[in-house]
């Protein structure tokens, strides 16, 4: 198991950072999603052993992460804050951290160069970090996390502050990492950033784990929640009346001559009804689309569920 959290709570005085999270996460790539202040960094600090849980137990790769040199050899971490020494070159900095990882000077230099090459910084590696752009600094930070070839890479908001080109580069680098069958946990408050990397997500808010699993699994949690459907149909008024009479729609709006927009708490029954109606030739439906295809919609719905708004 990659991560095991057993009723983990972390308090900062009277402020709750993480609230009673229980979770078993298998090896692979996972996204940690939540709005700013959701507790993502606290959770990552618990996973990397920088913080102790106030209550509960944390295990990473089967071991306690707190002051555990053996585990630290197997993980790479990119923190959410920069914290780089501006007065040294990228090569010096990555080599230094790789040496602290436990490698000899020559081996650390070799690994640092290799990592900087992987993040496409070879030609700039002798330049001082202070002269780097935000994207180059972020790639340098990624290099220090992967230089010692960890089994498990943990990234806290790696896309933060990057321009579109730098985001694309970072995404490509992380896709390469995943293709090499290494584990990854990546946090973000912007869903589309990590949708292209993994389909396994943890959604947290207010220090609580709202849901975990694939997009589909999380979607199934929402099956009883009203979901929005758009239809293009030849006689929308007649269909709207039938849906309301059958209790298949909560709200309906007719937009233009052919567009029908509705919310339903019975998505299964609705699709069954529409399928039958089409096959019987009662309605000519040319398009049907759920607007909750994107992960952002799933996340918004979960937030509503969590807040008791659904």
């Amino acid at each position: 198991m990659l991560i095991e959290l057993n009723h983990v709570t972390r308090l900062y005085g009277i402020v709750i950072g993480v609230n009673d999270i229980t979770l078993d996460l298998p090896e692979g790539a996972h996204g940690l999603l939540g709005p700013n202040g959701a507790g993502k960094t606290t959770l990552l600090s618990l996973i990397t052993g920088q913080l102790r849980p106030t209550i509960g137990d944390v295990r990473v790769l089967g071991q306690s992460p707190r002051a555990n040199p053996e585990l630290f050899r197997r993980i790479g971490y990119l923190p959410g804050t920069e914290g780089m020494y501006a007065d040294v070159s990228a090569l010096e900095w990555v080599t230094y951290l790789t040496r602290i990882q436990g490698y000899s000077a020559s081996e650390a230099t070799r690994l640092a160069k290799q990592a900087l090459e992987r993040v496409r910084l070879t030609e700039h590696m002798h330049r001082k970090i202070s002269a780097f752009s935000r994207g180059m600094r972020q790639r340098t930070r990624l290099a220090q996390a992967i230089a010692h070839e960890p089994d498990f890479l943990i990234l806290d908001e790696p896309f933060s502050g990057l321009d579109p080109i730098a985001r694309h580069t970072m995404t490509t680098l992380l896709q390469d990492w995943i293709e090499r069958k290494r584990s990854l946990l990546i946090s973000s408050h912007v869903l589309h950033e990590i949708e292209s990397l993994t389909r396994s997500f943890l959604l947290i808010s207010g220090g609580r784990l709202l849901a975990s699993g694939s997009t589909d699994e999380i979607g199934s949690l929402l099956s009883n929640m009203p979901s929005e459907v758009r239809l293009k149909v030849q006689s929308p008024r007649q269909l709207a009346a039938e849906l309301l009479q059958g209790g298949l729609a909560e709200t309906i709006s007719i937009e233009g001559e052919r567009d029908l927009r509705l919310t339903t708490a019975s998505a299964g029954r609705l699709s069954e009804f529409l399928g039958q109606a089409i096959s019987e030739g009662r309605y000519l439906i040319t398009e049907m689309r759920s607007t909750e295809d994107s992960l952002q919609d799933v996340f918004n719905s979960l937030m509503k569920l969590h807040r008791g708004l659904a």
């Binding site: 002051a67 630290f72 993980i75 804050t81 914290g83 040294v88 010096e92 951290l97 602290i100 436990g102």
Partner: protein
Amino acid sequence: MNTLSRIPAVFAFEWRRALTIPRMGWMLALAALPPLLLFLIRTAARSEPPPDVAAVLVYVLSPCVACMMSVFLWSTPAVSSELEGRSWTYLSVRPHGTLAVLLGKYLVGVSWALPVGLLSAIIGSLVITQNDLPRLIATQCALATLSCVAYGAVFLLIGVIAPARAMVLGVIYAIVFEVAAAFIPAAVNLLTIQHRLRCLLVRWMGMDMSIAEESPVLLSYFGDESASWHVFLLLVMTAGYLIVAALLLRYREFTAAAETAT
């Protein structure tokens, strides 16, 4: 590889980073201060001071003031500079990373302060007197070395105990303990580094302490133990401070976000 093998990496890296002209300028200024003051004292007195007075003057300005200030500037912010710079996180997720940085920075601090202490002790001795110079220089250099080693450990510990207020607490410690308490003839002065260094000065310079032997109060200022005992105690205190600092580092939580330990 264990912690010890990582310390040279930290030492070499931090030394390279420290080699800047402003920093070297500050260290040279600190080394020049005691000889300058001693020169002014000698010029004002218009004559060479008695040997014991000369030894005390060099001791106060070099092993005490110059060495203490140098290691204070290096060792006290060892942890806080990493926390404030948000670089602590990178070290805390590496095997023995924070301990290696702590000890590596301690050695960097001592190795930067030592030339300051030795230079100021040698030049200061040459400036103040020509009397029994080899003995004076050897004594002051030995005291400067012990001062850097011991004070470096104390200030490092203070930096680990309260990283957010390390510099303020370091100054308070220096004034309250190493200046005030060290001169109180009670058990508390035995715990200060100042007391041990002062006792060593008296022993190594062969100062006449016959008056102290008749007065328990004076005896508590200079002690009646052997020089080797004082050296041993200083080294034990140094090791003790470093061990406590290492243990605190191991069991406390230091988060860059809070810049404090909990």
